[in-house]
Symmetry: C2
Subunit: 160 residues, 2 copies
């Protein structure tokens, strides 16, 4: 992860992509969102969605998983180059979570995050606050999810 | 579920409570938020959290699960009385998700939802839009999560 000082508003990060299978849509819903249109093909066909689709929470937590994997890759690459890496997190929360379109079985969602704000932190002088606009877009170019999150990012250590 | 016409701003619903175990905190994190302070006790003790704690997304999706169970109970009770029940959903999204305190192993979170807004829907004349402020509070009375969501609720069928 870049240090706070190295981030710029407008930076866009491709976080990764994920294809949603029927089995994982049902497994997530069984545990966390057991509504019939996330659990059963026939019931979903009869619903306003028209076909089995993922819980909006499922679409959101896959973003989280891909983001963690993406950050881990950056850390490993930086360490391999002998560079210091900035700590990131925790997140304070998020705003304006929108489930814009259903995510159906077989849809591949591509997630991106754009830096939209950077400010210093009063409570944590060693960190800055990064605001990010995240989106997930399906294989037809349609946005299915978007939200805004704010996370602490470590500032560059002072030179001795 | 009540029909849109029977809802009032200020209505508070006790959705349910959930005690977070170490095993489920780790299982959720392994799949969706594999950060060390959600996965490993020793690493969590060395982190700014000081002990193993749940992913904020985990705290959120447990709200969803309890809400579905709560609604199902209302539907079954109404049907047992021979009453009609209103359809609810889908949710359009949510705003202002705040993770206010960590949720540690053994914490019991009590979730509530308060109706904060009611308006008719232009796009779906047979439904209204209900805005809800939801909170989760731990056994010490400390809020750990809050957010605002907006959901379609069916209007009372017209009398023949």
């Amino acid at each position: 992860m870049k240090y706070f000082e190295d981030l710029e508003v407008g930076d866009v990060t491709a976080i990764g992509r994920h294809t949603f299978t029927a089995d994982e849509i049902k497994a997530f819903a069984q545990r966390f969102d057991p509504q019939l249109f996330h659990l059963d093909e026939a019931a979903a066909e009869a619903s306003h969605f028209g076909a089995l689709c993922a819980s909006g929470w499922h679409t959101a937590v896959i973003w989280m998983r891909l983001m963690i994997d993406h950050r881990r890759g950056l850390v490993e690459a930086a360490r391999a180059r002998g560079e210091l890496v900035a700590a990131i997190g925790p997140a304070l929360g998020l705003r304006d979570m929108k489930w814009l379109k259903p995510v159906y079985v077989g849809d591949t969602i591509e997630y991106k995050a754009e830096v939209t704000g950077l400010r210093t932190s009063g409570s944590r002088p060693r960190s800055g606050l990064m605001t990010t606009f995240s989106t997930g877009v399906n294989q037809n170019g349609e946005p299915v999810i978007s939200f805004v999150s704010t996370t602490f990012v470590e500032r560059r250590p002072e030179q001795p």
